[in-house]
Symmetry: C2
Subunit: 239 residues, 2 copies
Amino acid sequence: MSGKNTDKDLIQTVEQSAMNAITIDCVIFGFDNGILEVLLVQHAEGISKGKWGLPGGWINKKESTDDAAHRLLAELTGMDNIYLEQLKAFGEPDRFPLRRVITIGYYALVKREDYNIKAGFTASDAKWYKINEIPDLIYDHNEILAYSIKNLRHRVRQAPVGFNLLPEKFTLLQLMHLYEEILGVEMDKSNFRRKILHMKLLVPLDEKQQDVSHRAAQLYKFDPEIYEKLTQKGFNFEF
Amino acid sequence: MSGKNTDKDLIQTVEQSAMNAITIDCVIFGFDNGILEVLLVQHAEGISKGKWGLPGGWINKKESTDDAAHRLLAELTGMDNIYLEQLKAFGEPDRFPLRRVITIGYYALVKREDYNIKAGFTASDAKWYKINEIPDLIYDHNEILAYSIKNLRHRVRQAPVGFNLLPEKFTLLQLMHLYEEILGVEMDKSNFRRKILHMKLLVPLDEKQQDVSHRAAQLYKFDPEIYEKLTQKGFNFEF
DNA sequence: CGAAATATTTGTAATTAACAATAAAAGGGG
DNA sequence: CCCCTTTTATTGTTAATTACAAATATTTCG
């Protein structure tokens, strides 16, 4: 949880309309130039002034935790329809210094192209950090972040969620590099190609990479409907 | 969450010493006679009198959510050192009828032999239900249970957690049947054997099955220390 | 001792992954 | 316009894994 007001302000504001023992914190992943990054926000005031942390906030009394996470995400990034999933609740009794607050961790996968368009101006105190250059964060946010990466590594191998980090149209090598970066491994080009094409999950477009000074790569897109159909036939995405 | 008092009693009792917007609910898995089961408890009074639900309760102000889950589990089963993991938080605004309460779901894996010894007497209103004979449960407990099964299926394939459901000493066939039951698939005996033995994870004992009217199977045990060493060498448990 | 039951091993074809090499585009410079 | 560089894309070959089938080994019981 974090924000621009002092922590006490927040608590007072919140007690009328929101639950006061639970917050939401969200790890927002982006993939830019082959690098996995997360979006952090800076605490303007309060106990942890100047320190960076995960974006987050309170849950309104009438909304689900999922809805709250979506709302907070929209407030920060200006984006709607973001891929979002809950991690788990973090409940050490002293994780928040002022009083007992349990937080529910979420993680989001965003396309950087969309973010640059929609959020460039709103998030003035937000900044993308490379996954292995994360500073010391407020509260237990380093722990939440570490957990989210572990979770993402599992998730990306079991379900086609990685596409949420790529542009609408992408090359197979881009996709492979995404996997390599997230999983921290090197992969074999030809086998990767054989395997992913064999799934018949990707739609090849009538379009190629532009403005590259070498052979242009075929562009593909991911079609959720095709994935649905395959799944119903017993197909199981797995890397 | 559930208990023997009325819901209102519980809420009043709790407001002094515990957090009142968050509960814990726990799916307890057991494996008996080749069948995967969960332990449910019956609501004695309150709105949902007579209905079955997951065991659960409140979180004390000074304990972590993990500690709370362990405490609740010990209270119900008399068992300590139970394998326990958090699922996630369930936060639909109307999941609990009286007021807004978010619950954190956990799941536990217990050895039935231990349970029978230690808990036989305390848990009078508790009962094991086969996984595909689950009745209509209170609140959103069917949803939590369904989620826990999905989670267990994933988890059991990625880490050696299944052993927590088996006796200390087990045969390879027992282990395979455990996997078959949890994953809902049929497996190949010889390949299963080749694969698990090849991991060099199990310790063959100087002991065989007793009192069977056919060739007695070799008994094995799982050694967490060996698993640790293998993991450090880069080994990755996977089924 | 032989029958019944299950444990355990062995073998072989089909898939999949690891590794290596080659052919096919695309732009840039002479 | 042709050659060079770079990267995409295809093809092959071997090793490891999985699917499927069969034979062999123990054990109790009648």
